[in-house]
């Protein structure tokens, strides 16, 4: 496979920079700064030091013995991104981009958030590095994720509730881009997923690839070989691309992205961008998009605020169309069942996002032999979701 993205930020036909002209220079500056610093040993060392001493990396690769026995079939390993500081993989990227913002001389950072994990990670890094921080969050999500709003406030960030459109992640992204257009001189936008205009999808992937790099070393040390399957949840797709990327050249490793089917892909209430979307231009890049026949972007639905997004990172679209990765839908109900199973068999309460990946393992592992190895990226822990889960378990979906 050729190296992607190319110099125009294209992953095959996907990606690019479909943004207002006002942002173009900022994106070009960002790309140049990233190119420069990503080769700077001091920059790399600072990030490495924060990832190890502050965030607690490497995260462990854990053999889930009881889950493996319960499902019967393939051996299941969990990549424990939930053990990171702030409780999810989002901190990897926030540290990377935060340090970059500082090097670029920016004093203010902005971020968008759905479930709040990227918002908390950005607020955390802002506190750590002494930067001002504003986080845009759909009003709907500020209610679903009250605890994370409180966390961000405690960390000194301002949470801006977004009341336009669907009042969820999609509109939080629009609002953050709009704010950036107006304040592009002194403000750095820490984009939280592998989406948006170039160079973000590439940069977020590079900051998240540590997940796959560690997994590779750990599984070879533990099992003596590469896994047969790698499974990760995809909303925008940052944890999945970080996990997949170092394995893309290894054709024997099957890559599976799990997207939110909400109330079912046969209904209109889902976030199954790959299953039901078409190629389109949305929030700065060409990718798969949930849209109507006239090109209006459709609202997405998922039990998980982090997967509730009608777009997906362009590199995932490229992996789908080149058939290097497969993307499958999991419903709200299946995710909720998986969440309870993992809690009871392993004593790990996963984030609702990660529960989608576990639900796919529940389907896949029993069909495989015990000589097969499946690694699941457990992208975050479920603390943020317990209130919502309580509601769903008591009141139904």
């Amino acid at each position: 496979m050729t190296q992607v993205p190319d110099e125009n930020g294209r992953f095959g036909k996907f990606g690019g920079r479909y943004v207002p002209e006002t942002l173009m220079n900022a994106l070009i500056e960002l790309e140049e700064a990233y190119k420069h610093y990503s080769k700077d040993p001091e920059f790399i060392a600072e990030i490495h030091s924060l990832l190890t001493k502050y965030s607690g990396r490497p995260t462990s690769l854990y053999y889930a013995k009881r889950l493996t026995e319960h499902l019967g079939g393939a051996q299941i390993y969990l990549k424990r991104e939930d053990l990171n500081h702030t409780g999810a993989h989002k901190i990897n990227n926030a540290i990377g981009q935060g340090v970059l913002a500082k090097r670029m001389g920016k004093t203010k950072i902005i971020a968008e958030t759905g479930a709040g994990q990227h918002g908390v990670a950005s607020a955390t890094v802002a506190a750590l590095l002494g930067l001002e921080c504003k986080v845009f969050m759909g009003e709907e999500d500020t209610k679903r994720q009250e605890l994370n709003v409180f966390r961000m406030n405690l960390l000194g960030a301002e949470v801006v509730p977004v009341t336009s459109g669907t009042r969820t992640l999609k509109d939080a992204c629009n609002e953050t881009l709009r704010y950036w257009v107006s304040n592009v001189d002194d403000t750095y936008y820490i984009l939280g997923s592998a989406t948006g205009p170039h160079p973000y999808p590439m940069m977020v992937r590079d900051f998240q690839r540590i997940i796959g790099d560690e997994t590779r070393q750990q599984i070879v040390k533990e099992a003596g070989r590469l896994p047969d399957y790698i499974i990760a949840a995809v909303g925008g797709g940052s944890n999945a691309i970080g996990m997949f990327y170092p394995f893309i050249e290894d054709e024997s490793v099957k890559l599976i992205g799990v997207e939110a089917a909400g109330r079912g892909v046969e209904t209109e209430e889902h976030a199954a961008t790959m299953t039901k979307g078409r190629h389109g231009v949305f929030q700065g890049s060409l990718s798969y998009v949930l849209q109507d026949e006239h090109g209006q972007v459709l609202p997405a639905h998922s039990i998980s605020a982090g997967l509730d997004y009608p777009g997906i990172g362009p590199e995932h679209s490229y992996l789908k169309d080149t058939e290097r990765a497969a993307y499958v839908p999991i419903t709200d109900a299946e995710a909720l069942e998986a969440l309870q199973l993992l809690s009871r068999t392993e004593g790990i309460i996963p984030a609702l996002e990660s529960a989608h990946a576990i639900a796919q393992v529940m389907k896949l592992a029993p069909t495989l032999g015990s000589d097969q190895i499946v690694v699941v990226n457990l992208s975050g822990r479920g603390d943020k979701d317990v209130q919502a889960i309580m509601g769903y378990l008591e009141g139904g979906l």
Partner: protein
């Protein structure tokens, strides 16, 4: 000759600056849009931007976003509907050059070839696509050149050394963004605005027009000295929003249109 070029040539001979209003088509409904376009022409508009409502208008502020939401909620307005409004306005006798303002995705979904076939036959002279920077526009620009429909690019105060490259590709006019940020009425413009406009002016012989945030006769006059055209969007869309209740009742519709006409006339010095 493209009608936009003809209009600027005529205005230049008369020593005037073009007033270019923007409206969101389908706000509040398609038939009323035709009447608003007629009212704009009567009020002295020289060209008009026809906005295609979009679910995720990244370059627009709350006023135009609300207009899009109204158009999508009331009439589920599509790209094809907007172009049909242009055709109907022509039939109703409107002579103004039409400039389509659309985000890229509705055009991309329609298909570039069918899109150009459609607009060529319907009297559209130019188009502005706010999320299609020059890096991404090669295919569409080539088709625009072939069909003689002008692709009008935006330049911003942050464009710096991109100004020359953008201006070199401009057809019709160069759309100069007067301030950082999204569309919307504002009192202050970018502090380097005058220098920015003279940079654009010296980069090209193509006419230049200023837009984003212009809402009053004083502001129109201020920019008339430096530019060949002045674009007024949010201020007009806000005026339309104010009179939507009048426009929606048959007995008060003419009053609503009269108010829009008066507002647009009032922008001209």
């Amino acid at each position: 000759m493209n009608e936009i070029d003809a209009a600027f040539q005529r205005l230049r001979e008369e020593g005037r600056t073009a007033l270019i209003p923007f409206i969101t088509i389908g706000d509040p409904d398609l038939a009323t849009s035709v009447e608003i376009i007629q009212a704009m022409e009567q009020a002295g508009a020289d060209m008009i931007e026809l906005g295609v409502p979009y679910s995720d208008p990244l370059a627009d502020g709350p006023v135009i976003q609300r207009a899009s939401e109204r158009a999508l909620a009331n009439a589920r307005v599509t790209l094809a509907d907007v172009i049909e409004v242009a055709a109907q306005s022509r039939q109703a006798g409107v002579k103004l050059p039409f400039i389509l303002f659309s985000y890229y995705n509705p055009i991309f979904q329609y298909g570039l070839e069918p899109f150009f076939e459609l607009i060529a036959a319907k009297g559209i002279s130019g188009m502005i696509i706010p999320d299609l920077p020059i890096e991404e526009d090669a295919e569409l620009r080539a088709m625009a050149e072939d069909t003689g429909i002008h692709l009008i690019p935006l330049v911003a105060p942050t464009s710096n050394d991109r100004v020359k490259r953008i201006a070199a590709k401009a057809r019709g006019f160069v759309y100069c963004v007067s301030s950082l940020g999204v569309t919307g009425v504002r009192a202050d413009f970018h502090q380097g605005i005058d220098e920015f406009l003279s940079t654009v002016r010296s980069a090209t012989d193509t006419p230049i027009a200023v837009g984003f945030g212009i809402s009053s006769r004083e502001q129109v006059e201020r920019f008339s000295k430096q530019a060949d055209g002045v674009i007024v969007g949010s201020a007009i869309v806000r005026k339309i929003e104010e009179v939507v209740p009048l426009l929606q009742a048959s007995e008060t519709k003419q009053e609503g249109l009269a108010q829009i006409r008066a507002f647009v006339s009032g922008l001209k010095g």
